[in-house]
Symmetry: D2
Subunit: 347 residues, 4 copies
Amino acid sequence: MNFASDNTAGAHPAILAAMAAANEGSEPSYGEDRWSRRMNEALADWFGTAVAVFPVATGGAANALALAQIAPPWSAVFCLAGSHIDVDECGAPEFYSGGAKLVAAGPPGRLYTPADLAAGLARHPRGVVHHVQPGAVSITQATECGLVYAPDQVAAIAAAAHGADLRLHMDGARLANALAHLGCTPAEATWKAGVDVLSLGFTKNGAVAAEAVVFFDPALAEGFAYRRKRGGHLFSKSRFLAAQVLAMLEGDLWKSLAGRANAAAAALAAGLSAAGFAPAYPVQANEVFVRLPRSLAAALSKAGARFYPWDDSEPERPLYRFVCSFATTAEEVESLQIRLKSAHASL
Amino acid sequence: MNFASDNTAGAHPAILAAMAAANEGSEPSYGEDRWSRRMNEALADWFGTAVAVFPVATGGAANALALAQIAPPWSAVFCLAGSHIDVDECGAPEFYSGGAKLVAAGPPGRLYTPADLAAGLARHPRGVVHHVQPGAVSITQATECGLVYAPDQVAAIAAAAHGADLRLHMDGARLANALAHLGCTPAEATWKAGVDVLSLGFTKNGAVAAEAVVFFDPALAEGFAYRRKRGGHLFSKSRFLAAQVLAMLEGDLWKSLAGRANAAAAALAAGLSAAGFAPAYPVQANEVFVRLPRSLAAALSKAGARFYPWDDSEPERPLYRFVCSFATTAEEVESLQIRLKSAHASL
Amino acid sequence: MNFASDNTAGAHPAILAAMAAANEGSEPSYGEDRWSRRMNEALADWFGTAVAVFPVATGGAANALALAQIAPPWSAVFCLAGSHIDVDECGAPEFYSGGAKLVAAGPPGRLYTPADLAAGLARHPRGVVHHVQPGAVSITQATECGLVYAPDQVAAIAAAAHGADLRLHMDGARLANALAHLGCTPAEATWKAGVDVLSLGFTKNGAVAAEAVVFFDPALAEGFAYRRKRGGHLFSKSRFLAAQVLAMLEGDLWKSLAGRANAAAAALAAGLSAAGFAPAYPVQANEVFVRLPRSLAAALSKAGARFYPWDDSEPERPLYRFVCSFATTAEEVESLQIRLKSAHASL
Amino acid sequence: MNFASDNTAGAHPAILAAMAAANEGSEPSYGEDRWSRRMNEALADWFGTAVAVFPVATGGAANALALAQIAPPWSAVFCLAGSHIDVDECGAPEFYSGGAKLVAAGPPGRLYTPADLAAGLARHPRGVVHHVQPGAVSITQATECGLVYAPDQVAAIAAAAHGADLRLHMDGARLANALAHLGCTPAEATWKAGVDVLSLGFTKNGAVAAEAVVFFDPALAEGFAYRRKRGGHLFSKSRFLAAQVLAMLEGDLWKSLAGRANAAAAALAAGLSAAGFAPAYPVQANEVFVRLPRSLAAALSKAGARFYPWDDSEPERPLYRFVCSFATTAEEVESLQIRLKSAHASL
């Protein structure tokens, strides 16, 4: 019953098998190997367009490097309150960008909108030397609270960003979960909707450690290779990153894994609702947020369930986060529901 | 016949097996897992002292993070000309430190000495506000030209560094090769000789991607966890880094692999000498540098040998680098020698 | 009728006279001159305690350098929404600190409180590696909306900061105005109330360009001289900065100038109130904020008055800022009132 | 007899008079005032071309900001050994650029040449991700050892730089002295010779504190205003910087002051030569470097002369630096010569 995070699961066995399979003979290092070249081609196919791809091993690196590429040091990165880039990377975007400012629109728990951007732009007018300048827009897909942007919602934000001469970054740590929910193509969810640069995550979806910064306009990536290198994020034995990505794309493994996680979350949400605890947000990806009586949550923890308290603005009924992963089993979900009912009854 | 680098080899199978073995069930992430805790204990045992350990995935990250921890932004990091930190990390130490200056003592191709440090200190007097201040000392073990510091040589540098109130960093990307050469304990080669912080490398020696920053005085690591995190170098599924390190320590795998690489280099050096091409530097670890007629080198390349030109200050007889790894076979070395003789004869 | 800012006035003639008087003979540079030494002593007297003083020429430099000294790159600087450091320095604190995060408590238009700090600390728990860590607290005296902290209010914030192991910075760009209002000693308003480092401003109060970073615990200034130098803020002909500061302290010029500005603001506030436009905030220093019908403000502008729109959250009745300086005359204030009445009547 | 530096002199009285004259009435701040606009026009006239001008108060700020504008964080700034940017700014260029690397060609005591640049480029090949990339070229006019580049020498460097797609920066802290020596126009010495961005110094030549970053292609200055602001180098009462620059240009004050300093240095050099101590380098600007017996230098110091030891590579006969300024009198030079003869006789 581990619902703490989608990164507490290990990796899918196919990923480790692919890494082992890539361990044959000597290969050029630093991205010149056969697997890396195949990965580049596979991602171009996957997206149906030319892309410049830079694999890294953590989502924090992908996000911070991508933002530093598009947002000058004296700029504002507009995002939603609660964005991972703003609250969960210990200032990585600020570090990599040389001091850009994260300007987060509140409240969290919803989708970012063109109106949020308009408000941010109003407070950071271009050309006033005293204020940080508009730099970039970043959205998370699926969001940190498990919501999914429809392509037209992304397109609306992209249009507003581009209209203000800003680039749109998408933190796709859970893009696979979003795609599984949307049923659209990777292209439709990203560059066709106006995304300029994507942090494409595989780790939460079952890789060992594999993410990639993807530029849909390769010209936008100028100098990025140096940025990544001096961040310490260029791998010598690059084949082992590429092999993970290739394994994920092979036979749409990414989709079946994300679908599994989403389904588990949906089942969990249904169970919670049935027990009288409706999720706080629509459950569209692999995360479920729910308010529970504090004592009930304690009882669940005691029974072995792992999950995080998220917000205690209502002290007696805090908001809790439950995350499902590719490895979450029907038994785990069911087991949680049983515990929930029993705990609820005994309160 | 790939002598291009020790990172063109894949990983040792035991490493991949260990990663697969670590893929069981759910575990806390970000270093709180069982493997990470075991790794910390195993490294404390290995060094015979309390250590603060921070695994990362690249040597560049380890070096840059370690130096940033001990050298203020307005300081000089004293090192040897040709040091990896100075010439091969695209400015990573400058980036992570916030602009510290690498002050490299020439010429390369030798060991750093207390006299080098004294000269550096003379040019960067403490307390003169116009000059960057003494910040740290960094040496590479084994060096970038394949030389190994004896413990007393390290101790002399450490004494000079500490006497100037500076910390000593060791870039141990090839520490295993140095230890295999020295036959001393990890402790003797590092903290007992005065090293304060170590970049401990496993990747070149057969890991997939596993390095660690090791502080011998845990108090020196204050704040380092945040530094690593905002560099994007904290892994969510940390067990897979720890499993690699554990596999390397298990049964002294590190030692047999490094010994193998060193032996291959020694055999290669012997062969080259026998053919009339004595190595430019004593071959103490897994690298062989040798001056060859340009035409001979070209013939070798054409015959399929991979190696790097290193320095063409003598245009007709450039310096070439041959690196052996754990995966270098006796056949490869022999094959190279045969090609060498044949090419030599035909010139 | 220039109420745009206290920096649109020139300098008080005594300042320029002092600079001219300091222009005698040759002197050591970079702070070793006689005037700089006298300034250091004079400020120690003024504060009644040992201080480490670092003059610079802009308030932005003073603030950013001071914050960088006390807040690590991975930390949060807690401040009030609308703080100059957060919104009017184009990211200077982020730049100098290496990417620290300004965490501003809303709403603006009031004093910062220990409760604000407690809330900020709750959202940035110490020891959680994903979040930026508590770094420093910064308050502005007088605030950007013209309010003044009483010494015990500062002391309460300082106690809360120190209790959380944080240093308290005071942006004293208008400290003189605050002191003139409070009638207390510089010591009482700063270090006796717990301020650790002060940006002491003279420019807005009539200097050409003279500010100083003042550390009340000289040990806290370790390394600061290098930080200032590499920021390009160490003046070669330092005597001309020191001469300005000395002239300000001479005969309490600072107090009479600040008193003049405060009195003008009070008169302006009274006039506005009499005309039915009560200031939005208590007028305690030299700034008056008032909501005016947009058409009335336009009429005033047309009549030659200079002032800034500040906030148009009420579009028909925006908030305007009027700032008085040492150079504001009774005639200017009276003239504005006359225009106001006349414009008001004609609407 | 103060020959320690050209910044130990005060300011020329005309500068202080101009500042006092600029102290009339209220003016927009931050560069929008009348004096700043006149300064911009005057410098465009002076250079005979459109320029983007950004005044600051220190040469360190001008250099570091200018270099950060043209050299990416992952790049090398090629310069001569002994350059002020490399050894006398406590790492300001590294700080402002976000970690660029100063690559200094030795030995010092000469002019930088296209061959130096070619050598630097050879060691930093474009496109190799492990190495910092070619970023910019910087030369000092007059150099730190008092030499002056002829326009065609600058043009040769500029051609080499532009041929490598690099911008040429000129540290013109003593440009006036160089111009006074060359007798050419400011245009000929700078943009007509290919200089892209200039640190134009007035402080050493008699200003209180006034420098300017001058871009000869205004498009190159994009974003620079924000860079300067967040460095804390945008002055609120900008008129006082502009007034200094205007006073320097008025009636070619800059030229008469620089001519005076150069003439004093020439007289000093002649006197030293006559006494048997020929300058180490041709004396073309306002600095004289000369080897003197240590005891003789000590005697001169004891007699009240101020000057700096520069290099003690010949311990018995160190190299000393004597700098003349606009304020150096014929009496001072004569007095030094008398002391020199007398001391020499008594040794």
